[in-house]
Amino acid sequence: MKHLVSLVAVLAISGAAQADEVQVAVAANFAGPMEKLAAEFQRDTGHKAIVATGATGKFYAQIRNGAPFEVLLAADDETPAKLETEGHMVAGSRFTYATGRLVLWSAKDGVVDAGGNVLKTGTYRHLSIANPKTAPYGAAAVATLQKLGLYDTVQPRIVQGENIAQAWQFASTGNAELGFVAQAQVWRDGKFTSGSGWIVPATMHDPIRQDAALLAKGAKNPAAQALLQYLRTDKAKALIRTFGYEV
């Protein structure tokens, strides 16, 4: 019995000392940068970020229903705000970790011109966007089309992905000749990784502010706090910028 007690005590202590893991829910568009950030984060701090990627709306529903996420890196600023009002996050912990840029992109070279005139002139059957009802990149895509005065003519050609990752998937497999995707998905170190694209001017749509939040479940986890701090370091910001975000 005595041994059992001491064993339990040892396990409890080592459990506390091992509190160096943080469960992070990450918006699909930030999956690429987060992978790199998590590796650097672990190297620099010893903490481990366990990353789940997906649609922000889905994470919202899961968090409200008891998901074990401790940090949310959302695709918008509305979801963290809502979570704060509803008491599911640590009050005052949210901040913008990246501002996303929208890109009109084709998997083929030479299809998309600087200026996006291909939308008017091009012969394309499908234009993929993220679901505008639930994804900020989708809403930004619709706003851009409206600003260009093209929404009504283009609408029959629009196909919707569940989130921005799927909008990219439709375009990258060529099933959709054109797609509005996140710059981070097709951009690395100052150029497109493949295909052709037009970086939509930020004036065409509301800024895609992506906010981070310390969720209630992570309030007492040092690794969660460390990750949010890490995101604000110059090193992390520089890395985030190489993916085409503004910070």
Partner: protein, 227 residues
């Protein structure tokens, strides 16, 4: 309550399930007949292919369908050569993917039913001078009736519940590819829980009633599919 886009999704889903079920009965019947009768070595391999959708996640089927139907995929190249364009994001594309996805739910009950008929009635019919075609329609079909009913109902119901495949190749286009399951997902993501409940609850009730009817009508044949 439900709105216009919900009813459009319900209608599209019913249409998809009806077309897929019809196609599966037309193409699944000869396949099931062959599986039930052949001694070919290919029998087990074909049976395994038919059963694949039972064990594969729909996202796997959807992913490969997306690649196959794309401009560089074999299916996409074929349809483009025929001047049909590519099939992703079309109702036809959903039908083709769903036929594969729901294949075992029709073929397996049919195969079981054909096996249960045995060879004796066929031999008797032959000695009476019936042609194979006549034998099939006058003898086999009536005897295998539970298999047809079970296969049709399960194929229909399973297609109604399709989600992963549609998500991958559908593109969520109203009246073309937005079915009930993706509509529910959208409602949940948009936090429209009331509408999500109406659709999801309706789906639950529908599925239960379908299975209840099936179990009441043909308890043996339903159990037969689960061996």
């Amino acid at each position: 309550m439900l709105d216009g886009s919900d009813f459009a999704a319900i209608w599209l889903t019913l249409k998809l399930a009806a077309v897929v079920t019809l196609l599966l009965l037309v193409f699944g019947t000869p396949l099931a007949w062959w599986l039930a009768r052949t001694h070919s070595r290919l029998r087990h391999a074909v049976g395994a292919v038919v059963a694949l959708p039972l064990v594969l996640p729909p996202t796997v089927i959807g992913f490969y369908m997306l690649l196959a139907m794309g401009p560089n995929g074999p299916l996409g190249q074929a349809t483009q050569a025929l001047g049909l364009g590519t099939l992703s994001f079309t109702f036809t594309g959903l039908v083709i993917a769903s036929v594969f996805y729901s294949l075992p739910f029709v073929v397996q009950p049919l195969t079981n039913a054909f096996e249960a008929v045995g060879t004796r009635p066929l031999e008797v019919a032959a000695t009476l001078g019936a042609t194979p075609w006549d034998t099939f329609w006058s003898v086999v079909v009536p005897l295998a009736r539970p298999g047809f009913v079970t296969g049709a109902i399960l194929g229909f119901a399973h297609t109604i519940g399709e989600f992963g495949v549609v998500l991958m190749i559908g593109g969520n286009i109203p009246d073309k590819t937005r079915v009930v399951s993706t509509q529910i997902y959208d409602h949940v993501e948009a936090m429209e829980y009331a509408q999500a409940h109406w659709l999801a609850g309706g789906m639950l009730v529908f599925s239960f009633v379908v299975l209840l009817v099936l179990y009441t009508l043909y308890p043996q044949s339903v159990r037969g599919t689960r061996r």
